[in-house]
């Protein structure tokens, strides 16, 4: 694909792919629920990687699930964003000595945003997504 044709900037609100793994589930599903309601920011839960812009890795990944995450990441169209939640994606977190979990996510796939916390609160995730959209030009500077 020629360089300038590749769409660099994210010009619409983020659609999140439904790969709510490990501990992220208990904090991401309330975000989809009506109390935090991420749809106010235009973030919709999408069921196929083809429509998704953002892949939220919700915590530790095992060897087996890392294979699937890579395949999902390759299927996502180009202006894609990877958000990694929790300390398990940064440094192995609580399972630093487990034989089956991935210790550092950046060895396996490019990550755009780390959100510390175990698991992080919905406010922190919203703030992170806001910064991602500001970084990728999706937000008109008010």
């Amino acid at each position: 694909m020629k360089e300038e044709l590749k769409l660099k900037r994210l010009v619409k609100s983020i659609w999140v792919f439904n790969w709510f793994n490990s501990c992220g589930v208990t904090e991401l599903l309330p975000m989809v629920g009506s109390r935090w309601d991420m749809e106010r920011f235009g973030m919709i839960l999408v069921d196929s990687p083809r429509h998704a812009d953002c892949l939220i890795i919700g915590g530790y990944q095992t060897e087996k699930s890392m294979v699937r995450v890579k395949r999902i990441y390759e299927q996502m169209p180009e202006p894609r964003v990877v958000v990694a939640l929790g300390s398990c994606t940064m440094s192995g977190g609580m399972y630093w000595d487990s034989y089956n979990t991935i210790k550092k996510l950046e060895d396996y796939m490019p990550v755009d945003l780390y959100i510390p916390g175990c698991p992080p609160r919905p406010e922190a995730v919203f703030q992170g997504v806001y910064e991602i959209m500001k970084e990728n030009g999706g937000v008109k500077d008010e």
């Binding site: 490990s22 904090e27 699937r68 609580m94």
Partner: protein, 366 residues
């Protein structure tokens, strides 16, 4: 390969399917009918039983939150009782009551996740939004009492509870319970579009439940009145009176009905426990690096939201357990029971049956 002789195709109800958590079922499908199913777990396997051998008691209490991601406090209670039993410590009366209140709150919150997941599985979006909306009020209570929204970080620890329940928590709990009572979740499912999706779908007779290892609400939905809180009672459950809701026809809807009735029972238990809560102040429990678990062996059985959770702990006198076998209820529900139930059903029923077993991939893979 022409289409005539290809009868069976393999379909993945896979790890990234919107209806299924991180758990994959390989379905051999002929047209719309599922011929056979084969579970393929292991996406969340962290090797918990060996992780606990490298950590001492207080670190294990923090680690035991994450065995089942949906109900951390119930597994805290299992681990705390195993260590208390080995060390021969009997917990102060007030701490035991607080443990029961927190375990029942965690059961209500876990049933709300199940209600939301079941609605998402069969496409009833208002139920999903409502369930996760009201569950958040319980997370506010957890935040007030244990300091963490989702993970209590070992709040129920060996020897009692990490810090005492603040006095403001009582009104907050009663107010949230009133709110959950008001939403009358059952009536939302009594409509002609949802009931046929669950009525006599995935029927499990009583004689098959014991053979397949089903426990908890799956057996109660098939007509067996059994509850570990009453048969093998622990903490102060024998001093509280609550009854066990059962159904008889064992299909997806009756499993769901038993679950929702259990929420009303849990609300009754919490109200009783709050009234009988003994006065007094509990000393906060400080982690000590020198705690030694005396040599011995114990087998603890608890009733968690998904069924019977058990832990077999062997200790050899050092600070950390020598061997700690964790028996999660979803391990039996999602492999033998699900494979048995999925034979011969339509593909459209697979999410309904899957979600009717209150699946938790985390405590299946451990």
């Amino acid at each position: 390969m022409s289409h005539e002789n290809v009868k069976e195709r393999e379909l993945f109800f896979g790890p990234a399917h919107p209806g299924s958590g991180n758990f994959c079922v390989k379905l051999m499908v002929d047209g719309e009918k599922v011929l056979s199913a084969r579970a393929d777990p292991g996406y969340l396997h962290r090797g918990f039983e060996k992780l606990m051998e490298y950590r001492d008691t207080m670190q294990n209490a923090v680690l035991s939150d994450r065995i089942c991601v949906f109900e951390p406090l119930a597994w805290n209670l299992v681990h705390a009782e195993a260590v208390d039993g080995l060390m021969g410590v009997d917990v102060p009366e007030r701490a035991s009551y607080i443990r029961v209140i927190m375990a029942e709150l965690s059961r209500i919150q876990s049933h709300l996740i199940w209600y939301g997941g079941m609605s998402m599985g069969i496409g009833f979006d208002t139920g999903f939004k409502m369930a996760f909306g009201y569950r958040d009020y319980i997370l506010d209570i957890f935040e007030l009492i244990t300091g963490g929204r989702v993970y209590p970080a070992g709040y129920i620890c060996p020897g009692g509870v990490r810090k005492d329940m603040p006095d403001t928590a009582r009104e907050k709990i009663l107010d949230v319970l009133k709110r959950i009572d008001e939403i009358k979740m059952l009536e939302k499912f009594e409509n002609p579009t949802l009931l046929p999706r669950l009525k006599n779908v995935g029927v499990l007779e009583l004689k098959d439940t014991i053979r397949l290892g089903a426990t908890g609400f799956v057996m109660r939905a098939s007509g067996m009145r059994t509850d570990v809180r009453k048969d093998d009672s622990y903490e102060v459950y024998d001093q509280l009176d609550f009854d066990i809701p059962i159904q008889n026809d064992g299909d997806a809807y009756s499993r769901f009905l038993v679950g929702i009735r259990e929420i009303e029972e849990s609300i009754k238990i919490i109200r009783q426990a709050l009234d009988e809560l003994p006065k007094g102040r509990l000393k906060p429990i400080k982690p000590k690096l020198s705690t030694k678990i005396p040599e011995g062996e114990i087998y603890i059985r608890n009733e968690v939201a998904r069924g019977e959770a058990a832990m077999h702990m062997v200790s050899d006198g050092t600070g950390s357990p020598y061997r700690c076998k964790i028996r999660g209820p979803s391990f039996l529900h999602m492999i033998p029971v699900l494979e048995y139930l999925l034979k011969g059903v339509q593909i459209a029923d697979v999410p309904a049956i899957y979600w009717s077993l209150n699946p938790c991939p985390a405590d299946m893979d451990r």
